[in-house]
Symmetry: C2
Subunit: 590 residues, 2 copies
């Protein structure tokens, strides 16, 4: 085994190309073994094994700095930079994050998990280098999926003006997570077909020097290529054609399915046996039915269709009524606004963490323009995630943007009735936080604009009212039961919406209640509960807000995460009693 | 006068080219007259008079739909679509917004004031048209400044795949607000120099059909050009070369200064006589001094340098230590993160409303990566603005992003001491909300990490504590005085920071206070005050939060704006007394 001897990039430099080839195979085997056990982005990593070896063979990391855009392709880099055992020793598989992480190694420059930032980040490194007059190489490794995100374009536009060393390794494996879409990809195909020689060349017209290598998985040729650009004193794009999923026949033939392997999944509410019913599948079936009945409905997604249940079959059936715009979240929102403005009924299906790219568009293009766009936010909630992919922040972001109606259904039937309404109404944008808890109501009641502004009284109690938003309706019920067992009958409320408050309802609670408790499956800061605390600020009503801390958690296990935020029945009941009992006692003594 | 007879685009269609030329001159005169009186974006509007006339001559608005990207260039369009008198009758100058606005006219499709969204919005219109099988023309009018924003690129990437009518009028006047920067602009120059004939062509390589017109201010040729693309059944880019500021010698020769004319300005705190001292000028002088002393400091701006006081002279003197990256806010943040990571000291100077584009980058590239970037947010506050340029939302956005230190100085000396500290510290990103109130402290005290987490006790009082954040320290003082005149001595607090709370301080207030009042110059929803309401939710402390409603105001005069939000001394004192007096009475009776 060559791999056993690689503890740092230096250990590569004495190996021959043949030996490096063997090493590549060993690495590939370890990638497949580990990923099948713990999951991860396998396709892109398999494709870039050779290029990563060649990079570390030629350049001198960490003095030379390699930035991996989105870092879906950093596994080999981790193996070569002292973290081998996290890929070869099963007990240590979970030692490393799936993304670059400076806390793990000085060879990782940034924590990155959202795409299209690599050129910008690396260009900043280059600028700082120039300001202090140094000469190290700066390399941005960018995939073809990432390079068409708007921010990457902005970075390229700036980078091409630099008068010093800046190397962009453009790793073209012909695939984003799903199929690439857009004019630029026709162009990249042309570049590949002409071996980079066609006269129309995007990178050259911007001012970059440009080199092309067809055999992007050939270590010898890669080394030669990288040696030729090492120390290059102008911005240069090195375009290599690699094979996504290389060495794993399944991924070679199923590039999207082979993009990543999911083990377990992040839904903390899914019990064994429940997995077959999930909101991804439910939503897909619902949308298929709707699309067939109404040709003005358009479903839009941003490069992650499979994660939201929009399978190949869905995409086929939807035909012109579906578009994956690629890693272009900003565009997607404005595009949907345009569709709505001209009589279409757009449904944007998006993962919460990536919706963060669209704060301005949600406000300007949707809220301000009052366009009837339905936004389905998936994967919102407190669950163990990588730092870069937290589901904790979507409530706080959207609920403070004027003009958005934000709904949090608590069960399948409520979700669908909200969806029915959202798609057909013409008043303005509606954000629906797709729940994770698959639960059913007894019946499906129709939803309305009025309901979108009103809390629902579930059960009337006394002294304490509990508002369990969306996913946390379940937690609220558990609290209710525990309180009941101790003789406290809580008023139970489904708030339904979280971008504002139902003032009349909250006012009415003052009569027979001393305490209002809010539960939300997301960060408290800026969220739903704080608005209620503000409402009651001038009154005698006590308020307890439960939710996530203002923190980006790093793969914290579910139980620990809940414990840290006091999000379990014991803590909540104990906090309620601590407030309620003295007050009630005071009153009974009065 | 031809202009007097133009009440709708139909009235154009009977005029000859010569008559349209006369009309253009009349329009130009009215644009100059009006803008010198009430301000506005004049340069871009002067450049596109002819093209707008030709558009409305050839196309059939509002059936054919014209979307103006950022709508800095929509004045002639407004004149031709029934809003003439808002440009010719001084008493009616203020009837219309400076941007397109569907509430004014069916010819305005969207409210737009942030750049680079036009292609996406228009493409949505085209998609909806195709879904219902119609044939109207869809035209996006995009300037060269806007077309290099990342979102525009995302839109182009998608638009080039459309198999139906989609016309992009690329209005190339060689200028963004300030000078254009980036590789794409070298390319556009090449296109102009070759009359659109060079083989390397960005639009063609994406898949667009493409036409070029050098004489972009020639109505006859424009009409011919537009006739040739009317009903074109593929996406096409029509590239016209126009003259920014045409017809106004000053703007022709001073294109940036001639971009817009400011009359008055938006700073509600600037009294007559105070104008010479403003934070824009103070910041510029401060930065110039710093840059000269420390070559690792880098100032970055996004296409609006003059608005933040970064004059030509500043840019010259700063040299390599300044970069205007153009309309590329996302890139700017990540770029700064890279600079900080490699030992530089980046200062991002940005207008609050445009910072909205960077929510994700602030979280992922700054907060998560803990890079020591200083962000100076200008124009944050409640003041009369266009809907698209509100200053009310920056606090609520940044204060809920983990990992950011957010500071709100209350006077010049405090601002500079925070800046001194922010630039030199290495702990993480610091957002400073540049105040509008130019006031001076007696001395400049050094700032520190500890102070960035601690409230400052200004004066100790009793019963009520008032926290006046940033700009509203002044309002807090006025309230203090009024209360004092009524025998209530308030505890006065400068909270200094707003991304979290000083729990110890708030806890200590419980001893001798019944009420805490927060004042913030921005939207309450998700803001600074709500965090304090949440903190006290389980206690007997009453809390009153004052700030802006969750609403996008449309040029609401300052007094009315404050009145709507109860943001004046009378209301605040009255609310305080309404709470405090009964409580105190209760206590004194007990």
């Amino acid at each position: 085994m060559y791999l056993d001897k690689i503890n740092s990039p230096d250990d590569l430099k004495s190996l021959s190309v043949e030996e490096l080839d063997c090493l590549a195979e060993e690495i590939r085997t370890s990638l497949l073994d580990r990923t099948h056990e713990v999951g991860g982005h396998i396709g892109s990593n398999l494709g870039i094994v050779e290029a990563t070896i060649a990079l570390h063979y030629v350049f001198n990391s960490p003095i030379d700095k390699i930035v991996f855009d989105v870092s879906h392709q950093c596994y080999t880099h981790k193996i070569l930079t002292g973290r081998r055992e996290a890929f070869t020793v099963p007990e240590r598989y979970k030692d490393v994050s799936g993304f670059t992480n400076p806390k793990e190694s000085k060879h990782d420059i940034f924590k990155v998990g959202h795409t299209s930032t690599g050129v910008s980040l690396a260009l900043g490194l280059a600028k700082a280098r120039d300001l202090r007059g140094d000469k190290e190489n700066i390399i941005a490794v960018v995939g073809d999926g990432a390079i068409c995100g708007g921010e990457a374009f902005e970075g390229l536009n700036n980078a091409s003006m630099l008068n010093s060393n800046f190397i962009i390794l453009f790793n073209d494996n012909e695939m984003s997570i799903a199929n690439n879409y857009g004019g630029m990809y026709r162009h990249f195909r042309k570049l590949r077909e002409t071996q980079g020689k066609c006269s129309n060349n995007f990178f050259k017209l911007m001012g970059f020097d440009y080199l092309y290598l067809e055999e992007g998985n050939n270590i010898g040729k890669l080394i030669e290529l990288f040696e030729s650009v090492k120390g290059h004193e102008r911005p240069i794009v090195v375009h290599i054609h690699t094979q996504k999923g290389k060495g794993w026949p399944y991924a070679e033939n199923n590039k999207e399915a082979g993009h990543n392997i999911k083990v377990g999944g992040y839904n903390p509410y899914c019990e064994v046996g429940q997995r077959q019913e999930c909101y991804e599948n439910l939503t897909r079936e619902y949308l298929l039915d709707k699309l067939a009945k109404d040709s003005s409905i358009m479903v839009v997604n941003c490069a992650t269709p499979a994660s939201q249940g929009l399978t190949f079959e869905f995409r086929d059936k939807a035909g012109k009524q579906f578009l994956d715009v690629g890693i272009a979240e900003e565009h997607a929102v404005a595009y949907c606004s345009g569709i709505a403005k001209n009589g279409g009924k757009p449904v944007l299906v998006i993962q919460g963490t990536f919706m963060q790219r669209t704060y301005d568009q949600l406000m300007q293009d949707l809220g301000l323009n009052e366009t009837a766009v339905t936004v389905l936010v998936f994967a919102g909630g407190l669950y163990p995630s990588e730092t870069t992919h937290s589901g904790a922040f979507d409530i706080s972001m959207v609920c403070n943007i004027p003009g958005l109606t934000c709904l949090a259904p608590t069960n399948v039937e409520e979700y669908f009735s909200m969806l029915d309404w959202a798609i057909e109404q013409e008043e303005g944008p509606v954000v629906i936080r797709v729940p994770m808890v698959v639960r059913h109501a007894n019946s499906k009641e129709s939803f309305s604009s009025e309901k979108a502004k009103k809390y629902e009284l579930l059960r009337k109690g006394k002294d304490v009212a509990i508002l369990g938003l969306g996913n946390f309706a379940l937690l609220a019920e558990k609290v209710e039961k525990r309180l009941a067992s101790e003789g406290i009958k809580a008023t139970m409320v489904n708030p339904r919406f979280y971008a504002g408050i139902d003032k009349d309802f909250l006012e009415s609670l003052k009569d027979e209640h001393r305490l209002v408790v809010t539960l939300e499956d997301g960060m408290l800061s800026g969220g739903f509960g704080e608005k209620i605390a503000r409402f009651y600020g001038n009154s005698d009503m006590k308020v307890l807000n439960f939710g996530g801390d203002k923190e980006i958690y790093d793969r914290v296990p579910q139980d620990e995460l809940y414990a840290r935020c006091r999000l379990n029945v014991e803590n909540i009941v104990s906090d309620i009693k601590a407030i309620l009992l003295p007050v009630l006692k005071l009153v009974s003594n009065a």
